[in-house]
Subunit: 146 residues, 10 copies
Amino acid sequence: MKKIDVTEAIFAIKKEKNLTWEAIADAVGMTDVWITSACLGMNSCTEEVAEKLVAFLGLPAEAKSVLMEYPTKTWDEAIPQDPLIYRLYEVVGVYGPTLKEVIQEKFGDGIMSAIDFSMKVDKEENPKGDRVILTMNGKFLPYKSW
Amino acid sequence: MKKIDVTEAIFAIKKEKNLTWEAIADAVGMTDVWITSACLGMNSCTEEVAEKLVAFLGLPAEAKSVLMEYPTKTWDEAIPQDPLIYRLYEVVGVYGPTLKEVIQEKFGDGIMSAIDFSMKVDKEENPKGDRVILTMNGKFLPYKSW
Amino acid sequence: MKKIDVTEAIFAIKKEKNLTWEAIADAVGMTDVWITSACLGMNSCTEEVAEKLVAFLGLPAEAKSVLMEYPTKTWDEAIPQDPLIYRLYEVVGVYGPTLKEVIQEKFGDGIMSAIDFSMKVDKEENPKGDRVILTMNGKFLPYKSW
Amino acid sequence: MKKIDVTEAIFAIKKEKNLTWEAIADAVGMTDVWITSACLGMNSCTEEVAEKLVAFLGLPAEAKSVLMEYPTKTWDEAIPQDPLIYRLYEVVGVYGPTLKEVIQEKFGDGIMSAIDFSMKVDKEENPKGDRVILTMNGKFLPYKSW
Amino acid sequence: MKKIDVTEAIFAIKKEKNLTWEAIADAVGMTDVWITSACLGMNSCTEEVAEKLVAFLGLPAEAKSVLMEYPTKTWDEAIPQDPLIYRLYEVVGVYGPTLKEVIQEKFGDGIMSAIDFSMKVDKEENPKGDRVILTMNGKFLPYKSW
Amino acid sequence: MKKIDVTEAIFAIKKEKNLTWEAIADAVGMTDVWITSACLGMNSCTEEVAEKLVAFLGLPAEAKSVLMEYPTKTWDEAIPQDPLIYRLYEVVGVYGPTLKEVIQEKFGDGIMSAIDFSMKVDKEENPKGDRVILTMNGKFLPYKSW
Amino acid sequence: MKKIDVTEAIFAIKKEKNLTWEAIADAVGMTDVWITSACLGMNSCTEEVAEKLVAFLGLPAEAKSVLMEYPTKTWDEAIPQDPLIYRLYEVVGVYGPTLKEVIQEKFGDGIMSAIDFSMKVDKEENPKGDRVILTMNGKFLPYKSW
Amino acid sequence: MKKIDVTEAIFAIKKEKNLTWEAIADAVGMTDVWITSACLGMNSCTEEVAEKLVAFLGLPAEAKSVLMEYPTKTWDEAIPQDPLIYRLYEVVGVYGPTLKEVIQEKFGDGIMSAIDFSMKVDKEENPKGDRVILTMNGKFLPYKSW
Amino acid sequence: MKKIDVTEAIFAIKKEKNLTWEAIADAVGMTDVWITSACLGMNSCTEEVAEKLVAFLGLPAEAKSVLMEYPTKTWDEAIPQDPLIYRLYEVVGVYGPTLKEVIQEKFGDGIMSAIDFSMKVDKEENPKGDRVILTMNGKFLPYKSW
Amino acid sequence: MKKIDVTEAIFAIKKEKNLTWEAIADAVGMTDVWITSACLGMNSCTEEVAEKLVAFLGLPAEAKSVLMEYPTKTWDEAIPQDPLIYRLYEVVGVYGPTLKEVIQEKFGDGIMSAIDFSMKVDKEENPKGDRVILTMNGKFLPYKSW
């Protein structure tokens, strides 16, 4: 069993049992964004989380160790195509240098970590059309000189 | 005068007068992220904002209409290289399909707009290292069927 | 069953029963362009449309939920090769900046949505050679400033 | 004087005289989309149109022959980046195979010409947000066999 | 059965029966270049040609409708690698702008159609080495203005 | 003076004197396709041709040796964009493997040379639209084994 | 059986019988470089060589005609990655323009054929480290003018 | 003065004085291939060679230190386009895996160095057409294990 | 059995027996970095090492000769995506020209070999966060002139 | 004055005064690798270091603030070409997955930081050829889960 097989098993069970990512997240005590990324094979679970996930979904026993494996994180498209994902890429293209200016003004020369990092998605109801609130939270890492 | 010339003039004045983007933002009544993007030539100003910006910075008079021009938004690198910007690209690569799952679970089939969109950067002080809080706020657009 | 399997099943039945996209569209109460895109796995059906499509074509029952899944929209070729599709790409290349000028003159700074969007194909008979009339209809989205 | 020089001269005059593409189109008796493309150097003018354009805008005399030159049509970005133009590219990616199905069902094996071709942009007012109506009109060209 | 399956069946039969493309072309009443392209899945046959081809080669009956399907024309390599094909690509690279000059001098602003198009290959015997004579015949399409 | 300078000088004179490539070809005793390629810097002239060309056009004396230099043949676009040139590229993509089959059936394992090679463009008048006849003539080179 | 199948069969037999390319070359009366390229599917054998190869290695009878097929020569990586092959690519990059200068100084305007071409590998023993002597031998082809 | 300026100066003098690379090579006591590469900015000269080159060609004095600078070796085209250079690239593509087999059979697991490396070009006269003999000589470097 | 099969077998056994690369390295008398690269199919084993590895892990007997085969070293992504590997790529991008300056100042014109090369990974414990110490050791190869 | 201008000024002075990077490093109290990267515009100096550098080299006064600017780190070639830099890229390609295995075995799921990072180059004298010892030292960053 590889990570891709576990992912497919999870999608099948999720559809069959009519579960949401939110329900899965609650069952294992993690957030919906993070557990979804782990189910998609992009993060590794601790033993405790893997056990809970296997138990809650009724995955085969060997899935536990697979969920705990450290993933190789890759993606197919250098420039994403699905419109939802492309819009995020466009934001990075259009606003990347802007964010560099603003972040480095506030923090100094350095970057926002994508490793010591978390993210969440909220829904803001709005009569003119609901809004997606996407919040990234990453540690600032200053450049070292030596 | 083209947008690039106005951008260079702004950078020169900003350095000479030792201004911050935050100060410029306050002077024109916009946020720091947005006014930075406009100064970098990635958004167009309303007449009122353009006038305030020209007055506050002491830009040449013709800069006003240039700031009001509708920009062609492009960027040099399909895959960004500067580490601060690359990390954002990496987030889109690693978490793009995760965000698609989570956003579409909460909102239905559609996308987060990158046009009816705003963004802000906050600093969270933390003894283990300050954290960058980056918040995106985009209207949800459901796919139309016809 | 995945979207690709449903697409293949639809093509097989369509050929066997000698159906047209127009006939399928009429049977489910949608336009030919839209239902074709849904059958090709590029749009998700409402439950009602999925049921009608399954019934009309005699698809396996599980196809219904697959047709309702939210698709990941991707394409194989960054630059299309089939001549019919390449010509559309060429139009975007040759006339893209022209359309930007004309649309933004008429509407202000913003874009034509590809999400709140519809499209149709008409045939104009002409003794010198019939003409394809392709009409796109997208909501204008003005850029937000903040 | 090259086409790029004529384009820059036109933009400068258009801004100075506060003209619209529509006004320029009316003055020379062509549509706004076509004359814009010619001013951007993507189509060649007949002698009559070139003369009218030079006269109306007050361009230097040598611009006439430059406007009549047959352009080499190229564009910088294989995948466009400006959001207005990218959305058109996305439509080609998402709906290209759909259009192939629908056009070829209506017309037979062949393509829509991008040479014997015209295009127009209309504005449909709508209380929920105005809509861009983009209409392409191309001759159907059947594949020859031999 | 898909076009690729029909292509493979044709190659197998052609080898087994020791046929040439020329013989196949004669049997169905088309030229060798065109019938080869149809057998490679790059053109669609009329019903009459498809019937003759199935009969002559002894293909399975269902091959007939597959040969009549409208193909999606794609190729694997943006820049061809096989030396015979690369040399043609090189000719386009080296002589493309030359051909544009010469064709447009003779015909006006427009292109040679690749749709209303035919091609043939002749052998010119020559004591210093035989020569390949490749003749393309395409309708001139003038650019429309509007 | 480099080849690009000579090319620009030729274009300026050609426009001023209202010459055609055909007239230039006749003056120097070469074909229009070849002399155009030499004027575009893609082939080197013999001393005799260079002298005739300098004399006929009234080029500066130093242009002679520049026309005789062996060019580095390069082109800007791996995939051409101008529609006239793209159509030729499309022909190579669509018919490349077909030509390989047909040429190698007639000649054996080898290629058509693009070096020991000539090309011409003819105009075939036709009431349904004139036709471009493009003829390539290249030496067949058999693969050597050793 | 396709060329790839014959290649795999040859590698299996070569390993099992502990043969060298040199021994195979001697058995069929060709050089090691050429017969290796034919075994890798990059050149076609004459009937005589194919028969000898089948006999010497004990390949299945149908391999003979496959070895005689004219190959489509392609490679996976536009820029090779294996260090042995990359170094050759690097030589072409670093010394390509140098070789153009030197070859054209000695021979005139033209190229070294890669078709009427042979190559050999020799080993020069050297106490400081043996040396690879790679010799290419290609016919000079002068550019034709017409 | 940068390497590119020295290269241009050398080309100008070489043309004016009607020198060959061979004559330059003889004057400085190096081979024609190597000195050409140094003149093109792809190798650094020792002080002695740089002095001789400056003296022989009458280059400005500061050219000496520039010729001695260690070059950054880069090239413009990942896939070369000039036919002479492309043929070498094609040889690497077609015969790369063959050379890997043959070299590693003779030498063991390792590569031919492109650094401890030399190359020469010879002309073999031949009534059927002269032949280019290109000889590469590189040290074999075995892979280390540790 | 191919290298990929041996790699998969090793990973399965390593997981089942709960082994570390360090333990495998000790068992065969090589370093952990090198034996990992050999197990991943990127280096060839000597007979002695291959025997020890087969014996220690209980691999099938035929794995021995496969481990001894000379690998073709390739990787999937020209620009790596997994964050751990990308950071190394980023170091090469950001510091490549710096390393060229510093290495060539210390050693002269030449390169660090990647063939006569070894590498090790150490862990430096640190209360602020442990540190990875990655040491590369490559022979300096001076450029030859000739 | 931009970073590129300061870099060029530094190179000119360094050559004129015959300085080494090591001497510059000693003068400002940083390591040679780091100060070289700062002089190449890839790192920002503290005020103290910038002052020392300006004083030691005799740079114009305005260089100080330029050296203190936060750089945008980019490089020209996605795949480096200069052999010294390419070999480092090759190491990342060949050994990237190996390093991932070994580092993550020693440290857990995470990466080596390229921001909290230093690097040095040592020379190991060796009668068989001196060796480059390149040592990277980066903080291990464990992936966060949330």
